[in-house]
């Protein structure tokens, strides 16, 4: 063997070995439940989005992994008109839709797919919607159905979208899971075959993983998309979701190596997980806030002194230790610190029972006054045990002479009655959707949201003017100023007692590399590999 030949053989062997090591493996993710389907347009929960949007689909713009900042997705770049009402997207070339046993694309991704996706979300009379009627709750929630008035194909790789009113969060909204791009060619085929409903059971996207099979309540199987347009982001051969509803069992499976990553650990198991030499438990402040709303449309909560008194009587630290078992940080603002425009200068009023009593006296509130304190019947990351939290607050308020009666209803009823304003005070919270400050302040505290998500029924003109202005301003630096000021007003007026931002823990085996916790609580496997 001459020198050249030997080098070639050695080189090939090394390349082969390296190739095997880098593209190796099947990653098993112990997920918490079955998705309701695989069409992200119609879904609302993280369980659904993890199994569809995060694995198989892309959006025009996307959230960078582990961040709330957007980056180009299927759109390479975009321009916004001077009046902030027209967005022109230049689409990426060379993107292939998945090839599966049920669909073989004959063309690459282009403007037709974008037009199809958004027409479907916004036009009730669109032929595909007639064939497969569905609601698009998130699109409606983000006002996409009313504000996006035109979607035009300018040329095969350029799309223009027109808005009715300026929406500074529009691009952030486009990065959300519900705005995942479908294949128009596939949809047309389904429509012709009279199988439009299959869009929810046999998904076709452009994402890093290709759908292979789903067995309800058992598993979902995906193959790596070898043609994925963002080369280097697919480092696995296969991805399997092992559906494991019980958190303790997920942990046992993780310990035994039956899965590599698990969803939602139980706070009680965290200590053991952190000391387990086979596991890594990275954590990140979650993109949520849990709070107590004061219904300012009812007496005596219309009085600022009363709200201030109740607020300063609550022992947040004790709540975080007991309810979150330490896995949270006290909340000062309505939005978490990872949200841009978070006002760092604000501080909580210090806990002070005597001052609280004095404030109540000043407001003319007699000792022994009875109020209702509503506790959510469900667990949420921002409030894992609302009943316990309510009991602790009840105890704190008893010390200042306020008798709180804890009230709870079935979840749907709870929300319905709260929106009707039947409560005095209530526990609730929010998880950010799109990384925009308006998604916290406008949605939960704006005057428009009274009777909706503004459970405090607090409509402050000074605050609302800032929010409305923020929504129609696209300059981020200007928006930061507006929202910081709005938070100062919020803190001064105390429509809520902000309680906590929980911490997300993502237990995984040590062999898992490159997993990034999403601030939105989603699980995606972009760039994840196995050692």
């Amino acid at each position: 063997m001459n020198f050249k030949m030997r080098n070639w053989v050695l080189g090939s062997a090394v390349a082969l070995l390296a190739g095997t090591a880098s593209a190796a493996g099947t990653l098993i993710y112990c997920s918490e439940g079955s998705p309701t389907g695989f069409d992200p347009s119609r879904q609302v929960t993280g369980t659904d989005f993890d199994a569809s949007a995060e694995t198989m689909f892309n959006r025009l713009v996307e959230f960078a992994p582990g961040s709330t900042q957007i980056r180009p997705g299927l759109a390479e770049k975009w321009e916004v008109s001077a009046d902030n009402l027209t967005y022109t997207f230049t689409l990426r070339k060379g993107v292939k839709f998945h090839t599966t046993s049920y669909f073989k694309p004959t063309r690459e991704f282009n403007a037709d797919d974008v037009v199809f996706t958004f027409k479907r979300l916004t036009d009730k009379n669109f032929p595909f919607n007639k064939a497969a009627p569905s609601d698009f709750p998130y699109a409606s929630d983000m006002a996409m159905d009313t504000n996006l008035v035109a979607i035009e194909k300018v040329d095969p790789y350029t799309v223009r979208m027109k808005l009715k009113a300026v929406d500074a969060a529009f691009l952030q909204n486009l990065a959300m899971s519900f705005a995942s791009i479908h294949s128009a060619e596939y949809a047309e085929g389904l429509l012709k075959a009279g199988k439009a409903a299959n869009i929810n059971t046999q998904p076709i996207g452009t994402g890093p993983f290709v759908f292979r099979s789903f067995q309800k309540d058992a598993n979902i199987r995906y193959d790596a998309n070898k043609d994925f347009w963002r080369k280097g982001d697919v480092k696995l051969d296969k991805l399997i979701f092992a559906i494991t509803p019980d958190a303790s069992v997920r942990y046992q499976k993780l310990q035994k190596g039956e899965c590599h990553v698990m969803a939602y650990p139980k706070p009680a198991d965290l200590k053991a997980m952190q000391t387990n030499p086979k596991l890594n438990v990275p954590s990140q402040p979650a993109f949520n806030t849990g709070w107590l709303s004061y219904n300012v449309s009812r007496k005596p909560f219309d009085k600022l002194e009363v709200r201030q008194a109740l607020d300063m009587a609550i022992n947040k630290k004790a709540i975080i230790d007991a309810v979150f078992q330490g896995a949270a940080q006290p909340a000062t603002n309505p939005m978490p610190p990872t949200q841009w425009s978070y006002n760092k200068t604000l501080k909580d009023a210090p806990m002070d029972v005597e001052k609280a009593k004095a404030l109540l006296k000043k407001a003319g509130i007699a000792e022994g006054t009875e109020i209702t304190l509503w506790a959510m019947p469900v667990q949420r990351p921002y409030n894992p045990n609302a009943k316990l939290m309510a009991e602790m607050i009840q105890n704190d308020w008893a010390k200042i002479g306020i008798k709180a009666k804890i009230v709870t209803y079935e979840w749907g009823e709870y929300i319905k009655r709260a929106k009707a304003g039947e409560h005095d005070t209530m526990l609730i919270g929010w998880t950010g959707d799109n990384g925009d400050p308006d998604n916290w302040l406008g949605v939960n505290l704006g005057c428009e949201a009274v009777g909706g998500n503004n459970y405090a029924r607090w409509c402050n003109k000074e605050f609302d003017d800032l929010i409305v202005k923020g929504r129609s301003t696209t300059n981020q630096a200007e928006r930061v100023k507006l929202y910081e000021k709005a938070q100062t007003i919020f803190k001064r007026e105390v429509p809520w007692t902000t309680i906590a931002h929980s911490t997300v823990y993502q237990p995984m085996r040590k062999e898992v590399q490159g997993f990034k916790i999403s601030p939105f609580g989603l699980n995606s496997f972009y760039g994840v590999s196995l050692k």
Partner: protein
């Protein structure tokens, strides 16, 4: 015999009607609706809400909804899931074999252990064997399924590594469902090791689900046997000089079986109730978990259809037991 069977079947019809009404009424009595539950704390546009309710047919008065439901049932249509848009019957048929497979294995486990334990306790009445057996049965009966399942997983799966933690089969096998029964499907697939893996995965859930029925069967067998062992014909058999084994197995057990068979039939209900928890612990893709999820999502057609289909199973098994009863004991089928 035929008139006996027909009489029994005639009783079943109003029962079915009652079940449809009960299932319909109960799920509609729970506050909230599928749209509100789906939206949770998200904001909801009144126009969107109204159109969603209309699309689902939930804007009509309840009696109209019930009437439509009955009409569809008569046409063999159990409805379509609001959440997944799949026909209820298709979802049921996909998931039910898993529950049935698990329940059958649990019942086999319960009978294999419960019957001999009860016989042993009866024939050794008052001895330490009796006390230990019945004490264990009582413990088994009072065991909370969730706790029992987790303890077994920690011991046998995590510490000893003998059994898998959960699921129906190791994820390395991708067995396409043919019959839905994993043991049969693995045999049909011809994949080496798949059957063994499926059988391994059945052990712990079958034990957990079978524990309460086992305890009930053991206690019932014991008391029925004690009753029978006091009968004159047993004394006669003994006087004839028959062996102890022959007396117990041929003369006593056969006569003692009657209440035991009834109890086994009634345990089907217990098994299905227990399946909800067992399926959750062992990530078993059966109808228990499906129904619970549907209740929390207010997926009315699934809850109504699912309950009716399960009731059909339970009623059919009980009907079968009734008929078997008649076969075993002619006095019953002749009674008016």
């Amino acid at each position: 015999m035929l008139s006996f069977i027909l009489r029994r079947i005639a009783v079943v019809i109003p029962t079915f009607l009652g079940v449809t009404l009960l299932a319909f009424a109960l799920i509609h009595m729970i506050p909230g609706d599928p749209v509100l539950v789906m939206m949770g704390e998200r904001q909801i546009d009144p126009e969107f809400y109204a159109s969603a309710l209309k699309r689902l047919g939930l804007d009509q008065p309840l009696y109209v909804q019930y009437w439509h439901y009955l009409l569809n049932l008569l046409h063999g249509d159990f409805g379509t899931s609001i959440v997944s848009n799949e026909p209820v019957i298709r979802e049921f048929l996909t998931l039910f074999p898993a529950t049935l497979e698990l329940s059958l294995c649990a019942m086999i486990f319960a009978c294999l252990l419960g019957l001999p334990a009860g016989m042993l306790a009866a024939t050794r009445r008052g001895t330490i064997v009796d006390h230990v057996t019945m004490g264990s049965a009582l413990t088994g009966y009072s065991m909370p399924i969730f706790w029992w399942g987790l303890i077994l997983i920690m011991l046998f799966s995590v510490s000893l590594g003998w059994t898998p933690v959960s699921g129906r089969i190791s994820l390395e096998y991708d067995i396409p469902p043919v019959t839905g029964f994993m043991l049969i499907d693995t045999l049909l697939s011809g994949e080496e090791g798949a059957f063994k893996s499926a059988a391994h995965h059945l052990i712990l859930p079958a034990i957990v689900l079978g524990t309460i029925p086992m305890a009930v069967i053991a206690r019932m067998t014991r008391s029925a046997m004690l009753e029978v062992l006091r009968e004159d014909y047993i004394r006669t058999a003994r006087a004839k000089g028959l062996s102890r084994g022959r007396i117990v197995i041929v003369h006593a057990l056969r006569n003692a079986l009657m209440p035991v068979v009834t109890v086994i039939g009634l345990q089907i209900g217990t098994l299905l109730a227990g399946a909800v928890l067992t399926e959750t612990i062992f990530s078993w893709p059966g109808i228990g978990k499906w129904l619970i999820d549907s209740i929390s999502r207010r997926d009315y057609p699934v809850v109504q259809g699912g309950i009716l289909l399960i009731a059909t199973m339970v009623i059919s098994v009980n009907l079968l037991v009734d008929i078997l009863y008649g076969v075993i004991n002619p006095r019953i089928r002749h009674a008016r």
